[in-house]
């Protein structure tokens, strides 16, 4: 759906964001972080894994972990009726899948429109349609990994 050439690192691409929905709210993630968006395939649950970890899936022969972004962000879990989509995100430790409710669009959000307020941990972008939370997906899943490795 949105295969993005990673070689072009112009300012234009840096400021492009993928808008997606979780629990009726809109969120934005830097487009460069999202390698592709795919339909939810069969997910194999992993025994004794944390709640936000949905399991593993087969992405063209690679087995990658799938996380539920809702429970990762502390939102109520998704009803089965919502089919959902998976954002494939590249991290330093390989790709992961992030489960979201739906994907809206790709939008350009200039830096001026993003306020990094000190009170909330995530920056907020002002769009014509309203406010959206900007999620740094790479950092989100980086944190999961470090927390896990500390616990282990």
């Amino acid at each position: 759906m949105s295969q993005h050439p990673e070689t072009e690192e112009s300012a234009l691409h840096e400021s492009r964001y993928l808008l997606f929905r979780l629990h009726g709210e809109s969120y934005a993630a830097p487009l460069v972080q999202v390698r592709e968006v795919i339909k939810v395939p069969t997910i194999k649950p992993v025994p004794h894994s944390p709640a936000h970890m949905k399991g593993v899936m087969n992405l063209r022969g690679q087995i990658i972990s799938v996380f539920d972004l809702r429970s990762k962000l502390g939102l109520p879990s998704r009803s089965e009726a919502v089919p959902g989509l998976i954002l494939v995100v590249d991290t330093t430790q390989g790709s992961i899948g992030a489960l979201v409710d739906s994907v809206d669009s790709v939008q350009e959000i200039p830096d001026e429109q993003i306020s990094k307020s000190s009170s909330s941990s995530e920056p907020v972008a002002k769009l014509t349609t309203g406010l959206v939370l900007v999620i740094d997906l790479s950092a989100q899943f980086q944190r999961i990994e470090t927390v896990r490795s500390e616990a282990a």
């Binding site: 069969t42 194999k44 004794h48 022969g61 087995i63 972990s65 990994e145």
Partner: protein
């Protein structure tokens, strides 16, 4: 000139000197080495080489590396250092490569035939189906062949061991005949590299602790010259290596005493003989009263077993007091693809490595009994073992009514895992998992099933260990046996 053992030693030292020379020059162009001593040693045997010595020794004076004539320990150190691959590369016979290229050529032709079927809308015809089945055959062959690209013969390992036995035995005044069999058997290069240190350790132990001095041997009625045999062969889907010596064997009573002394088992623990021998694999165990330079620091056998287990192999000892010891190491042929059994635990399918299974049975009602406190046991031809529900171990909510049992041999004895159903056998490629899954006990890797769905490969031994340590049993042989 007669070729004696001394000549051999001198030649080997010469070789060592040349090797360190070449290595030294590789690191530093101005490298120099004192070769006076080795040259003198050579002169003993050669009456006419007086002029050569000038040329060889001329560079020796200013060198920072003074007086390096490799001693036994130096060459051993070097041997272990060499086991680290400096550059990851592999030598492949050209014929192998050619046959793969040929097969891929055929695959490309077949693929274009398939494409033309698609273009002409004839994909359902008999001809197309024939092409597809030929393609399947080709892909299988390419996979098999490409797996063998990583395979190397064990010969270099055997040669290295021969050298170690030679050096150690002459250092300790022992006479040992080193016999090898199956040096052309092939194994995955990474496995061979990772097994080199553990095998070196076992061989050193055999020379150091296993083999007695010629006098002791003779007074025990054995020939003065001892034997160490190293045999490699392939059995089913495993590579098996036997290391046997005809030395003094393991003393079960002594091991027991030592283990009690070190607090590894309690004084009244009832252990079978095999369980006693298994104690030598525990961390911090060493029976040798005197710590020698070569081995006996008690850091060995546990590391050996861990390295073997890390690559999903098994190690067993059989020994007879006064007669000798045999180590049997069974390793998978490849690290990346394994024969697996696909099982259904009731809520989903998992893959179990066939190498871990002793047998798979469909037990009758009377064979599985449930005692108070959820403990089930399986009676397998008179052998009683704990029977665990695999699905429940994996934290899944599974219904009663397990139809098959997978019998696994763990260090603490056999254990049975009940599963809902056996789906079938499949060679699975082990797929790496993300860091958040990789550490989960009992999970060896990911796999793609033949229907394209993702699955997990289970490590039943690891799973049982995690279960046992959680329930405070099994891991410690003392408790397991009581």
């Amino acid at each position: 000139m007669q070729v004696s053992k001394a000549v051999g030693t001198t030649l080997l030292r010469g070789l060592d000197t040349l090797k360190s020379y070449v290595d030294g020059i590789g690191e530093n162009a101005n490298f120099s080495l004192d070769t006076t001593e080795i040259v003198r040693e050579f002169h003993q045997y050669s009456p006419v080489a007086a002029t050569a010595s000038v040329a060889v020794t001329s560079s020796s004076d200013s060198g920072p590396w003074l007086g390096v004539v490799p001693t036994v320990t130096a060459s051993l150190k070097e041997a272990s250092r060499r086991s680290e691959p400096a550059n990851e590369s592999i030598r492949v016979p050209l014929t192998k490569l050619d046959s793969i290229i040929n097969l891929i050529g055929e695959l490309v032709v077949n693929q274009s035939i398939m494409s033309s079927h698609r273009v002409h809308g004839t994909t359902g015809t008999g001809h197309a189906i024939q092409t597809l089945s030929y393609m399947e055959k080709l892909v299988g062959e390419i996979q098999d062949l490409s797996m063998t690209l990583r395979m190397v013969p064990v010969k270099p390992l055997f040669q290295k061991m021969a050298r170690i036995v030679r050096d150690l035995s002459s250092q300790q005044g022992k006479e040992i005949e080193f016999l090898i069999e199956g040096e052309s058997i092939e194994i995955d290069k990474t496995i061979l590299e990772r097994m080199t240190d553990p095998i070196t350790h076992i061989v050193r132990n055999a020379v150091d602790h296993g083999i007695e001095s010629p006098q002791t041997r003779q007074s025990a009625g054995k020939p003065g010259q001892a034997q160490i045999r190293m045999v490699a062969f392939q059995q089913d889907d495993q590579f098996v290596l036997l290391i046997e010596d005809d030395g003094k064997g393991l003393d079960a009573e002594k091991i027991r005493r030592k283990a009690i002394e070190k607090g590894l088992i309690s004084a009244d623990a009832a252990l079978t003989e095999a369980q006693v021998y298994d104690l030598i694999f525990l961390p911090g165990f060493s029976t040798n009263d005197q710590i020698t330079e070569i081995s006996g620091r008690g850091v060995g056998m546990d590391v050996v077993r861990r390295s073997v287990q890390e690559i999903k192999g098994t190690i067993q000892i059989t020994t007879a007091l006064g007669k000798g010891t045999q180590f049997r190491i069974a390793l998978p042929l490849s690290l990346s693809i394994i024969p697996g059994l696909v099982v259904d635990v009731g809520t989903g399918q998992y893959v179990v490595p066939i190498s871990q299974l002793v047998e798979v049975i469909e037990p009758g009602k009377q064979q599985v009994q449930q005692f108070a406190g959820q403990n089930r046991v399986l009676n397998l031809r008179g052998e009683v073992m704990p029977s665990l529900c695999l699905g429940k171990l994996l934290g899944e909510r599974v219904a009663q009514g397990q139809r098959a049992s997978l019998v696994v041999s763990t260090p603490g004895g056999k254990v049975s895992f009940e599963v809902q159903d056996i789906v079938g056998q499949q060679h699975v490629v082990i797929k790496p998992l993300g860091p958040e899954v990789a550490g989960t006990p009992g999970i060896l890797g990911g796999a793609v099933l033949s229907n394209g769905e993702p699955s997990l490969i289970l490590d039943l031994l690891d799973l049982y260990q995690a279960y046992a340590s959680k329930n405070h049993l099994g891991r410690n042989p003392d408790v397991a046996a009581s």
